[in-house]
Symmetry: C2
């Protein structure tokens, strides 16, 4: 059965799924759509995903949208390596980390990237969220000090969920347009030792250059 993965570029949400596919060694066909050309609004694509959102995974008769659901589906269908834990305690901790990221870290990242990179939202709010984000990154650094991963002794969905977002923010903050804003966030991403090692370790798995 052919697996087809529909996504757009750049796409930190798709990247979670791509990393899961690669980690599990699953062969797949990639279809890159350009929403600016309406390629996610064709009758053909809307018949797969009526919301028209990306990414979407098609595995035989199964169609899944929403990056977290795609990772979860892949983990159930292709068990090795496990991404959502092997014990109840690990499973709970991984899901807790994912919802923590969604509730506390993602909104801060959006408040910074929106105005700085996409010109959307309130630029004056950036300063207010900067310190909050640094505080979250410092807490993450303390967690990563234990084993090098967010939960347990191996990479999991908790790492795959957060990495593409932090990677994208780090790249954005290094662009000239953002150079004089959010230096505290960029410094945290570059210099908190365990966070830095974690970004490098995943970049290596992901085949991305991070320096």
């Amino acid at each position: 059965m052919t697996i087809t993965f529909f996504h757009m570029q750049p796409g930190p949400f798709a990247e979670r799924c791509l990393m899961a596919l690669r980690l599990k060694g699953i062969g797949f066909e990639e279809v890159i759509l350009d929403p600016t050309l309406g390629q996610n609004r064709t009758p053909e694509f809307l018949s797969l995903n009526p919301r028209g959102t990306l990414p979407v995974l098609q595995d035989g008769s199964v169609v899944v949208r929403e990056s977290q659901a795609i990772m979860f589906y892949l983990d159930k269908a292709y068990s090795e390596p496990p991404l959502f834990g092997t014990t109840p305690k690990e499973a709970g901790a991984i899901m807790q980390a994912i919802w923590d990221q969604t509730s506390y870290i993602e909104p801060l990242l959006k408040s910074i990237i929106g105005p700085l990179v996409f010109g959307k939202g309130d630029l004056s709010a950036v300063d207010a969220v900067e310190q909050k984000l640094v505080t979250e990154l410092e807490a993450l650094d303390r967690v990563l000090a234990l084993t090098g991963w967010i939960v347990g002794n191996a990479i999991s969905a908790a790492d795959l969920s957060l990495y593409p977002l932090l990677f994208a923010v780090r790249a954005s903050l290094r662009e000239p347009a953002a150079r004089n804003r959010c230096q505290a966030v960029l410094t945290a991403l570059d210099q908190l030792p365990n966070l830095r090692s974690w970004l490098q370790a995943i970049a290596k798995i992901d085949g991305a250059a991070i320096e």
Copy 2:
């Protein structure tokens, strides 16, 4: 081992977990904290959950916060009945429904309940989201027409996630303060036939009166 469940009242997020505990027939001790009295900021509680958020589940040495993570932990630790699917296809569909609710339905509910019930946010925005929410509820009604449940042939985490939110919104919209706003949403909740049957079926399981 004693299971302790810390929550506040009223709490639609805690309600998801309480329903999972009851469905699985798990005995537990309930601790109700009042955030307005700072009971979630005591050193004792912060040692369990440094974020001070509710709900929190303590099961022996395991402590989990975030309602979705608590449901996931309970499902791994106490397998019957399964709440996150028994096949990869079901698992993916359940997680897709949960993230769909989080991405599309919850923000609309918040935009209505915030101004109408808690006096927070923009009251003038309520009209704009009303039709969007009705459209989501109509789509849900078509899904529920198939089996009576959001995914597959049985209640799952997808149902437990959404029900307490819709139940709370329905109750709020019946209050005098909201009576002349969002009639289209209240009508959808009361009259879409499959949605109505679903709300009643879960209320019965939950021991809540819904008429």
